[in-house]
């Protein structure tokens, strides 16, 4: 649980650094997100006069929900402490409730940007969540369980060959991950244009430690999705519970390499694509939904896909 907390800002910092280098800029240090969080935590909170308790509570609720969800994803070893408590569907539900609160808080103060951001975010969520669930079903059908550790163990074993349905699921999962993490082409995390924002517009009214919590939550979410993709679809070298210290060390090293590779490809993709129109997003996520559906369907038709 602590590991994800420590690594999450680093991953975001790394993605930003790679993006800057791709644009031939120097870029901020990869440790900058830590400094940003510390700076925000020290700053005072400016609250709108008509902000309700919901607005003040939301940052902590969303952060807690995302943190718990992130702690449920195996990073470099299976057999986590809280493994027995929750499965993939719980993770989806935790992320969903985090977003629910954030969207409510966006509308709470009553500024027009918060409202725009919330309505766009919910529109994206309405399509991303079913797609995510279908992907979960697809994996569950293959592995016979929705417990992530079990899934990862199964994927790491030699029973799984090349499967069409899994290929569809991984593409769909990447698309959902891009949308959920407010990355290009769905949203631009670096924009200053208030009219084009989705996630940023929703949290525009936050400041100080509240903003730090929300930012931290966003870092964690990115790490969560990368870990999820890594553990389910690239489970190589993941340490199985109960093996020796050496395999843990190898697993940890492999995990870091996987994170770095994912971060690099994310930055590369973001640099090479423009943002899509807001009304193209449903088509984009609709494709993810269809891929998830097809993957599941193929599994029903024949176990060998």
């Amino acid at each position: 649980m602590l590991l994800v907390l420590l690594l999450a800002p680093l991953l975001t910092g790394f993605v930003r650094k790679v993006k800057a280098r791709l644009l031939r800029r120097q870029g901020a240090s990869i440790f900058q997100p830590y400094r940003d969080l510390l700076r925000l935590l020290r700053k005072e909170v400016v609250l709108a006069e008509n902000a309700s308790w919901l607005f003040r509570v939301t940052p902590y609720v969303t952060f807690a929900a995302i943190w718990v969800a992130a702690a449920l994803v195996p990073t470099f070893a299976t057999g986590l402490l809280f493994n027995w408590t929750a499965d993939l569907i719980a993770i989806v539900a935790l992320l969903g409730s985090a977003r629910f609160f954030l969207a409510l808080a966006g509308m709470d103060v009553g500024t027009s940007f918060g409202g725009i951001g919330s309505s766009r975010e919910v529109m994206i969520a309405a399509l991303a969540e079913p797609a995510m669930l279908l992907i979960v079903f697809c994996m569950a059908l293959v592995a016979g369980s929705t417990q992530l550790s079990t899934v990862a163990n199964f994927m790491a074993s030699s029973y799984v060959g090349l499967r069409v349905s899994l290929g569809m699921a991984v593409i769909a999962l990447i698309m959902v991950a891009l949308a959920e993490n407010a990355r290009i082409p769905v949203d631009n995390p670096a924009t200053h244009l208030e009219l084009t924002m989705v996630h940023e517009a929703m949290v525009l009214e936050y400041s100080g430690r509240h903003l730090a919590m929300i930012e931290f939550g966003a870092f964690l979410k990115l790490l969560l999705y990368v870990s999820l993709i890594a553990c389910v679809f690239l489970p190589w070298k993941i340490a199985v519970f109960g093996t020796g210290a050496l395999s843990y060390a190898v697993g940890a090293a492999a995990y870091i390499v996987k994170l770095a590779a994912a971060g690099f490809f994310l930055a590369l993709f973001e640099t090479a694509t423009a943002k899509m129109r807001v009304f193209r997003v449903p088509q984009f996520l609709g494709a993810a939904l269809m891929l998830g559906l097809l993957g599941t369907l193929l599994l029903f038709v024949s176990r060998s896909f």
Binding site: S112, F113, I184, L195, A274, M276
Partner: protein, 503 residues
């Protein structure tokens, strides 16, 4: 159909006005001219006031003729032009704010530049005390169900100028956009009154920072026209060189910024490098990155030496190498094209009606470039094309800029090759009597118009009209039925000046 020449013959000619005729007319001819503008036979170039006179500059594009008609209004009222020809609306509201002349029949009674923060009303006219209480500025009403308003600005995220935008949207679709500008009013025209030519040209160069060359150029040409000065050849060619360098730098900045607003930062980064290379070349050749205060009435203040020439040549060679790749990247990135094509369309009829200059007019089929239509030295001696497209969308405005970059590079080549030797300026001389001059110069945004009257060696009255006056209203039209999230992209493709409009 009467031509502009016939109109000029109808009025009482003012002999000291150069180079185009100015005539004092009566109300009936004034109204006739407004009617012709509304019918689209002529285009409105400018409308400005004096304490008890209004002036209107008119262009007859087919005959390439320009004329100024003036109407005396001792009782402080004149027949409104905009009740027939809406493009004059904001100009008439400005005349009322600054001079207190009321346009009879103006459909819009709200102030424009005056936000009741000056402590005085009609600062260039009667100068009476400001109202202690004003009614709040009422935005135009929108009728219909499920409408919501989004107020943006005047303070924006990012480093841009202040302006307020009031969107009325139905869901994500914009039903109406209304602009409110005037936040950067500097009172330039008031400062001009009584200023010496040296000070006045510096003021002109500070109206809009990115067009400092174009403004100093237009002001100097107007002053020279008034004083009957002939500029030495070398100075005239150097001015064109400065103007083209400014155009290049701004177009690179714009192309990059438009792509950046579609979240495609790669082209922005490369265009930023190209723009910077132009600015650095300008710095080493002329001693100022934006080439400010180099053009003055009579000539230019700095010469271009061999080293400067070589620097500009090297910079251009580098651009010729790199720019085509960027254009190709723009053209081949499907996700970017998806954003720019068919977004924010300005219809050709509207561009013609508003006489929109620059890339906005030329992207919507209006073939007007001051360098060609009202050719001035040295452009009458240079080979270049005026690119025109008919689509009128963001993509077309990007492509016009791309083509203009290519034309500007070719122009700079010709200028450097054929730059004549000779003096850099002539002395302004000492003329006491009233003289009037007018000039229109193609800045990177479009046609910059300067009109002035000199008396006793100082500026008595000077009017500077930014091309943005006729471009801002088109942005309101272009965004209609687009989505809210596309506004930044449309706005950047217009890149109108706030400062130039707010004077």
């Amino acid at each position: 159909m009467p031509s502009l020449t016939d109109l000029v013959l109808e009025g009482r000619s003012i002999p000291q006005h150069r180079p185009w005729p100015r005539v004092a007319v009566d109300t009936s001819i004034w109204e006739f001219a407004a009617g012709e503008l509304a019918h689209g036979r002529w285009s409105l170039l400018g409308l400005w006031g004096e304490p008890s006179t209004v002036h209107m500059a008119i262009l007859d594009q087919q005959a390439a003729a320009v004329a100024v008609v003036s109407l005396d209004c001792p009782d402080r009222r004149y027949p409104s032009v905009s009740q027939r020809h809406p493009p004059a609306m904001r100009l008439e509201r400005t005349i009322r704010d600054l001079f207190g002349l009321s346009p009879e029949g103006l459909p819009d009674g709200r102030p424009w530049l005056d936000h009741n923060r000056w402590g005085v009303r009609f600062p260039l006219g009667a100068r009476i005390d400001a109202l202690t209480q004003t009614a709040p500025y009422r935005f135009l009403p929108v009728e219909g169900e499920d409408m919501h308003q989004i107020a943006v600005g005047p303070v924006h995220a990012g480093i841009i100028e202040p302006g307020h935008f009031r969107f009325t949207a139905s869901g994500e679709t914009v039903v109406r956009l209304e602009q409110r500008l005037g936040y950067t009013h500097k009172g330039t025209e008031g400062l001009m009154t009584g200023a010496s030519l040296e000070r006045a040209v510096r003021l002109a160069g500070r109206v809009s920072g990115d067009s400092t060359v174009a403004y100093a150029y237009a002001f100097s040409k107007a002053a020279e026209a008034a004083l009957d000065l002939t500029v030495p050849d070398r100075a005239s060619w150097l001015r064109a060189l400065l103007a083209e360098l400014e155009r290049l730098a701004n177009h690179f900045g714009d192309i990059g910024a438009i792509c950046n607003d579609a979240s495609f930062a790669l082209i922005n980064a490369h265009c930023g490098v190209l723009r910077e290379s132009i600015l650095r070349a300008a710095h080493s050749a002329f001693g100022h990155r934006l080439m400010r205060d180099i053009i003055v009435p009579g000539g230019v203040t700095r010469n271009l030496d061999k080293a400067g020439k070589a620097t500009i040549r090297t910079t251009l060679d580098n651009i010729r190498l790199r720019f085509p790749e960027l254009v190709e990247l723009y053209d081949n990135t499907a996700s970017l094209q998806d954003r720019t094509v068919d977004t924010g369309i300005v219809k050709p009829q509207l561009a013609k009606r508003y006489a929109a200059g620059g890339y906005i007019g030329r992207a919507s089929g209006r073939s007007f470039d001051t360098r060609r239509t009202l050719a001035y030295a040295p452009y009458d001696n240079l080979r270049f094309e005026v690119p025109v497209l008919n689509e009128g969308d963001v993509n077309a405005r990007v492509w016009i800029r791309v083509r203009e970059v290519e034309q500007s590079i070719a122009l700079i080549d010709q200028i450097l090759e054929r730059l004549p030797d000779g003096a850099l300026g002539t002395h302004a001389g000492d003329r006491r009597e009233a003289r009037e001059g007018m000039a229109i110069v193609e800045g990177f945004r479009g046609d910059v118009l300067v009109w002035l009257r000199l008396r006793d060696g100082v500026v008595e009255r000077c009017h500077l009209r930014d091309p943005s006056w006729f471009q801002w209203p088109l942005l309101e039209a272009a965004i209609e039925n687009n989505i809210v999230a596309d506004f930044p992209l449309c706005n950047k493709s217009f890149n109108c000046s706030y400062s130039g409009q707010d004077i």
